[in-house]
Amino acid sequence: MKRYVIIGSGVAGVTAAEELRRRDADAKITIFNNEPFPNYFRAALAFYIKDIVSEEELFGKPPEWAVDNHIHLVNDKVHVIKIGEKEIVTEKGYVEPYDALLIATGASAFKPPVNGASLDGVMTYRTLVCVNRTLDFIRKRRAKTAVLVGGGILGIEMAENLHSLGLDVTVLERGSRIVELLFDETGSSIVKSEMERDGVTVMTSVETDEITGENGIVTGVTLKSGETIPADLVIFAIGVRPVTTILENTLIKVDRGLVVDERMKTNVDGVYGAGDVTLRHENGEMKPCRTWLTAARQGITAAINMTGGDEKFTEIFFNASHVYKSFYAIVGKFNSAEGDGVSHLVLPCCEGGYSKLVFENKKLVGGQFIGAIRHAWQVYHALEQNLDIDPATLSIPEGEELIKGLPALPNHII
């Protein structure tokens, strides 16, 4: 009987466990988990904050999942990995041997070492624990104003959450525009104007100098320009760092993240990685994971290889979610800039929306969308079927929503 150990019960870890079980009915599968909650929908935390889903509904798997699938789900932090002995040791002293190990420890929110970062009321946004802590703080302190440091997708998401809870919100972005990693200038400005219409303040090209406080509690943020913005609550959303502490004194290679190859294998035999903890070698580039679907897919690829299969990780990148009060989606090479064989096609879509397709040497390679996320799936399917798409043939007929000239999806037909 093969023994598989998975560290981390995020989406990468549990999806890997399911795939392992599908491929090996008898294996012993053990997942170690470091949060007080088993697997949950991290990406639905916004809906929990806005009281749309309950804590119970946030759980990613039914309570019987582990038992039904014969998976040992152990709530205990892995402390040491002993590569030579092929075993792990937990904080509580539990030892578990493995034939193959998957590291799926995810990432944690980054708090920079600025003055005042450890004051009460300075938070991050990653886990159910930190969300509950933030909600408690708002209630107890009757917080009325909040500053979000970081205008990336999570900063904007938290800005929306707090705004909907009735707080006065200011977003500070160091760069010249918000959600820069996802959208071009048009996309960013659509999001920004939607926020401003709602009364959320967005400041770009500003840098945080320090956090001010009184009696150990936060009172505001001082910018490099000298200006101070008063705040009852400050949230850092300036990016994440792969959780690699347990790998520090091992031979497993870490370089700003757990380094894996295309088979999700690390440099050590029998040790694999998946999800936000990884940096993946691909065509000479180092790629982070960052998104839910990619993490799940990496879990599957890792599991296939752990069970003796031979599978390279390839994906048509797809990420869709909500940005401020709209839906968005980005597909494939969504952010290639124009020029050098790359051309863009912007189609008229919906009010306050954006639908941009990216072509490389006349071949469809991706797109970015706000509102019109069905278009994104149409593009995804065109890429999946490797269709030759001539931009000149694409249009949206009057009164219709879909792009004519791209494949329809099963749910448009059935």
């Binding site: 990406a43 639905a44 869709a320 996320i373």
Partner: protein
């Protein structure tokens, strides 16, 4: 031609949607049939390959009317309706599909009951001969027929050729007045496959789709017109799958092509319009019926209307929980009443039959078929 089987295509789509599900629960909040206690994690586990199907999810799979209300609300652009279809399929694989489906097929036809179906058609034709001359004249000869002339228009009536509503006869009466060149496809041998799909029998649906594509080819039409939303979905499906040249049209799309000839009379009476889930939402065509109605009357919209928001008619309840089905229909009548209009127009025969069956329990709003409505306002001669 698309090489994948229908089932493979659905499964691939359901699989990626499941992996991509971030658990925000919006689909279940939009769903008219899901019990509020049903959680996404239970549903996903029940749906995924290898996952255990819970009793709650099984009931949900039976009740799901495939209205697609769950689809536009998902921030990942996933389609819970397709995932639900996959769950229905799983229910069949496990042998736990409820038996009302087999009763339905005994009548509506699968190959096994060929003899019975022929008998049914014959009985209907005989009945019409004595009681309904228009039906005998216009419809009887087309039922389950084998030979077709080449024609520009094909009216696809499928199993609703037997419907007691006037829609079929009036459609052909209008076609004759317009003097267009047409053929008719209808009867139990040309099922669109929808009942099979609702029962999770995708392989059966595949057979029906194939046969439908062959039947359509026989008259090599430029346009195929249908007054049933599910038939319309199947037509769009076979066009895509078998790379066919015809254009599928709903009856309003067809009638709009002739609006200058119909001589439609205007009226001040306000009417409201019930969108079909399949036409307005899934096919994204909320406009044609409104354009047509707008030529005769002012439309007052219901609270939930249009492509994103329209609400199911409750279907004809192919075995779903009757309490749920009745409740859905009732809420539709109530919304129609709130508009202040006395008349609710529908464009799909399924919606029509469903509402007509519930009109007595929900007085105050008259339900009318768009074809019948046009027919009563035409001024051709």
């Amino acid at each position: 031609m698309n090489e994948k089987t229908f089932s493979e295509e659905l499964r691939a789509w359901a699989d990626i949607n499941l992996l991509n599900c971030i658990g925000v629960d919006e689909c279940m909040k939009a769903c008219p049939v899901a019990d509020p206690s049903l959680t996404i994690n239970d549903l996903n586990e029940s749906t995924r390959d290898g996952g255990k199907v819970s009793a709650e999810s099984l009931k949900f799979a039976t009740d799901c009317v495939q209205c697609g209300r769950c689809d536009p609300v998902c921030p990942t652009g996933a389609s819970r309706s397709v995932m639900a279809l996959r769950l229905k399929e799983k229910m069949v694989d496990r042998g736990s599909a409820p038996d009302y489906h087999s009763k339905y097929f005994a009548l509506k036809g699968y190959d096994k009951s060929w003899v019975r179906r022929k008998g049914f058609s014959h009985a209907m034709k005989t009945k019409w001969k004595f009681s309904d001359r228009e039906r005998a004249r216009l419809l009887a000869k087309h039922i389950d027929k084998e030979d077709f002339a080449k024609s520009e228009y094909l009216f696809y009536f499928g199993c609703y050729i037997f419907s007691k509503e006037e829609s079929t006869v009036q459609t052909l009466a209008i076609a004759e007045k317009l003097g267009i060149d047409y053929e008719v496809l209808g009867g139990l041998t040309t099922c669109c496959g929808w009942p099979s799909l609702m029962a999770g029998r995708t392989d059966e649906a595949e057979i029906y789709h194939k046969r439908l594509s062959e039947d359509v080819k026989k008259s090599d039409p430029k346009y195929v017109v249908t007054g049933c939303a599910e038939c319309f979905s199947s037509l769009r499906k076979i066009k895509e799958k078998y790379n066919m040249a015809f254009t599928p049209l709903t009856t309003p799309m067809w009638l709009n092509m002739f609006d200058d000839k119909l001589g439609l009379l205007k009226s001040d009476e306000k009417v409201t319009y019930h969108d079909s889930c399949h036409i307005s939402r899934k096919a994204g065509l909320p406009k044609p019926a409104r354009d047509l109605l707008g030529k005769m009357n002012d439309i007052v919209e219901m609270k939930r209307s249009g492509a994103k928001d329209t609400y199911c008619c409750g279907y004809w309840g192919l075995g779903g929980d009757p309490k749920i089905i009745d409740g859905i229909a009732r809420s539709r009548f109530e919304e129609a009443k709130e508009t202040g209009a006395d008349t609710m127009i529908v464009e799909c025969i399924t919606c029509l039959e469903q509402f007509n069956g519930k009109e007595k329990e929900n007085p105050g709003v008259k339900v009318r078929d768009i074809v019948e409505f046009v027919y009563s306002r035409m001024n051709i001669e």
